[in-house]
């Protein structure tokens, strides 16, 4: 049903709809919009959340842009995580396509349930599970790597990279790789500065995000069967069906998920804090912008400055979202 423009006089006949929306709007205004507007307002103040509330104009912004290099270094980490998270969307897409292609309805149902059930586990719980997995002495990851002999392979790769770095290492990549795994040592995934970012990226392997799978699957299941039949008649293979039928259908959802992923990479402080602590890991190697903002607000009691950081983060997310809209066009 298409929307209609009505005059104000006609609106009084539908007044109850607006009135019933009013409490909800008030709550959203009070708990979502008011804090946001308040944050923007206080970004121009020196505010400690209590008895100091002094207007000082754009000083927080100038300090952030001109003097605070730590914040922008945190964005570097967010960029690395964001790019990695975008690549980590691929398994969800593949899984959704595979689920969709299962011909047996019962089997498909079983697989679907199996993928959905982990969704009930809170993210913080899985984060602590991964902390245990990464335990250097008793963790599952090191145990599997040692028992399968993969650790030897990783050690060989590292030592080869170390040798290579002596002669050729323009970006420092080979020396970094060369320091990761050493013979006779269990890698400390969360405790070694060179491994910390890798540990954060590898978290949640195999990266089959349940939410993404469900979203893509819902769209895929709306594709009529006769399109597939027609494609088969035309001689389309597995990949062609994905490329020409399925991917264009889910591209709109992929774009939305990318936006969420970018926002998450910039906004997320809780998971990094849970895994590495408020300082952002050894040497601050996994410090992210939201963690920086959190520290300014709650450790430094510099809430006005933290509000300014929040506004800048919002602006960055907005730019990334617009870029995403421009680069990733949904299929019609």
């Amino acid at each position: 049903m298409k929307g209609q423009n009505i005059s104000l006089r006609q609106a009084r006949y539908h007044l109850s709809i607006y009135l019933f929306l009013l409490p909800c709007a008030l709550f959203i205004g009070m708990f979502a919009y008011y804090p946001a507007v308040n944050g923007i307002y206080h970004s121009f103040f020196q505010w400690n959340g209590g008895d100091v509330d002094r207007f000082h104009g754009a000083q927080s912004y100038s300090k952030l842009f001109l003097a605070d290099t730590e914040f922008w270094l945190a964005f570097k980490n967010a960029l690395i995580l964001g790019i990695a998270n975008i690549f980590k969307m691929a398994p969800s897409i593949v899984t959704a396509v595979c689920l969709h292609r299962v011909r047996n309805a019962r089997l498909q149902f079983v697989y679907r349930v199996a993928f959905v059930v982990p969704m009930v586990i809170p993210i913080l719980v899985t984060t602590y599970l991964w902390k245990a997995i990464y335990d250097p002495s008793n963790g599952a990851l090191n145990t599997i790597l040692q028992s399968t002999g993969l650790m030897k392979a990783l050690v060989w790769i590292s030592s080869s990279a170390a040798h290579l770095s002596e002669n050729f290492d323009p970006l420092g990549f080979f020396s970094w790789l060369g320091a990761l795994f050493r013979a006779g040592e269990n890698p400390a995934w969360l405790g070694t500065p060179s491994l910390a970012m890798l540990a954060l990226i590898l978290r949640d392997f195999p990266w089959v995000g349940t939410f993404g799978v469900l979203v893509y699957l819902a769209v895929l299941q709306s594709i009529p069967r006769d399109i597939y039949e027609a494609a088969e008649v035309d001689g389309a293979g597995w990949l062609s069906k994905f490329r020409y039928i399925e991917l264009p259908m889910i591209l709109r959802q992929v774009r939305i998920m990318m936006i969420l992923v970018i926002m998450g990479s910039i906004n997320d402080a809780g998971l990094v804090m849970a895994m590495f602590g408020i300082e952002g890991g050894p040497g601050g190697v996994v410090q992210v912008p939201a963690l920086f903002m959190y520290r300014e607000a709650f450790q430094n009691q510099n809430l006005g400055y933290a509000c300014a950081i929040g506004v800048v983060m919002f602006a960055v997310i907005l730019i990334c979202t617009k870029l995403n809209d421009w680069l990733v066009k949904p299929g019609d």
């Binding site: 020196q46 209590g50 008895d51 100091v52 902390k131 990464y134 335990d135 250097p136 002495s137 008793n138 420092g172 020396s175 970094w176 060369g178 320091a179 990761l180 040592e185 269990n186 890698p187 400390a188 995934w189 969360l190 405790g191 070694t192 500065p193 060179s194 910390a196 970012m197 590495f276 602590g277 408020i278 300082e279 952002g280 890991g281 050894p282 040497g283 601050g284 190697v285 520290r295 300014e296 450790q299 430094n300 510099n302």
Partner: protein, 597 residues
Amino acid sequence: MKPVESRPTGFWRRISERFNSQRNANGNGAPADDGQRRVNRIAVALVAGTFLWSLSHVLLRQRIDETAHPVLSLAHWQLEPGIRTGMETMARRYNAMRRSRGLPEVIFKQYPISEKAYGQWVTTQLIGGTAPDLIEMGIGLPAATWVNYRGRYFVPLTQEIMRPNPYNAGTPLENVPWKETFLDGLGNPISELQEYYDIGLSAFGQRIFFNQALLKKLTAKLASEGKIPAALDEPPGDLRAFLKLCDQIMELKDERGRNYMSLAGSKYQMGFMVKQIIDPLTMELLDKVDLNHSADASSEETFFAARMGRLKFSDPQVLRIAAIWKEIAKRFQPGWNGLDRNDAVQLFVRQQCLFFATGSWDASTLKVQAESSETPFPVGIAKFPVISPNDPEWGEFGWGPTYEKPATAFPFGIPSQSNNRELALDFLRFITTRENNQILNDEIEWIPVIKGAEPKPLLRAFQPTFEGMYRGWNLELGSRTKTFTDQIEPLMEIGEDDKGRSFTILDWAEHMDTEWVDAAARDFEKRDEDERDGLQTKNALAAVLRAKMLLAAPENRDFHTRHYFGYASVPLEANKNIALWQAWLRETAPAKKGAQP
């Protein structure tokens, strides 16, 4: 679909029709079927019934008739075994005393609330006017909030603690002010309020816990191999010998072929080792850092000393301290830096690690876990090892043990809204006699806080050392310096940076001499602002104390006068501190590029 035949009349009937009708595309209602109607009525009844019950519960709540038996309620967050039974024991003893004096017995109610919810629970109770008579203070809320709550909701106890505790009659503490019967004299008043509000019931300390059976077994093996003279019942008290033993332990393998780990480590444990072993080694730096001759190094003094060049992290003495620091870090298990306290506890309880540094608050829990583990083992407690003055390399730091401030903990305050303030205060006096405090802490397995009270044999090792070394610097001026040290110290302790390159003590010193000083300068800007904003607060507090002095009744005038003059110098001298700091900043400002000397 049948349209609605007539407009419903009556308010409740209209409500009923709303619940029961379904709308079609034109907006006309259609009646629901009987089944759905029944379900809807049940739902309405449930909601209405719950609301009415809740409303009546709040409106009709009554206090228990307290004329016959007063009720004393207390809330705390200590869910560990022993706390509740300890307080119940104290309640029984208190009632026995009251019976002997012909007074009615008191009904005690304890409210143990989990740590996570404690702050919110206390807030709700205080604001709602339903707070218990005694509340444990200090967790779940920011420190500033607790200060605010004390001022707003709790009874100041300053005058009470200056008088002797009547329950000490007939003991050596008879005429001693209640305050002075505590190991630390109850410390200082809350600085923002210049009053005391809390009475603590226990003290805490930190030690090295060890697996007695495993230590005996492993050292017996080492002794049989001729590596040490004899098996040990407790770890060596000398730091070098302790570290050597740790190395020897780490070479041994268990039944599964895994190497033993000596020190169960995490960021939390490293904090203890630094505080107990490394920080005191910096005491000799006091001469360079203590600018106001108070024998206490503040963070501002540390910053200025670094700026003035009096304190240099690349100084050979500081580098030697850092080397000892790194030696300790080497004996933690690999990857300790990425672990939490609970991970380290697991290693100790699973008998994979021999030593574990923590506080007395964990003593009873560790004992229980050790006794109930697959292979039960006895837990021993030892002091942190110290450097011997005869040590060939580190002897210059061998001045003695570490000073331990006898800090009162497990503190309780009395809300002003309590109807049993006098009773609550009386109970606190009763349980802080030497005898009762010892009995309470025996039950809880914590350390007594009253002078002369003895801890249980297991906790004797926690007897604080009142004469010893303490830190000669304070590196945390604010958030930037704290974050910087939290980030840089692990690199030095582990020995590598994020690119896998070697990160030595010299690298650490270089970063500290440059980047720490920069971070401290940024923190100092905030400190300066806080100090300036604080002038207003200090003058306000002085005005309040002055008003109390002016309005005091004659019998209290002396107390309030002493109280006022004890604080009066603070706002009067505050400007001078700001000016002095600015003078030091100008003196030590880095030279501009191109400037002629």
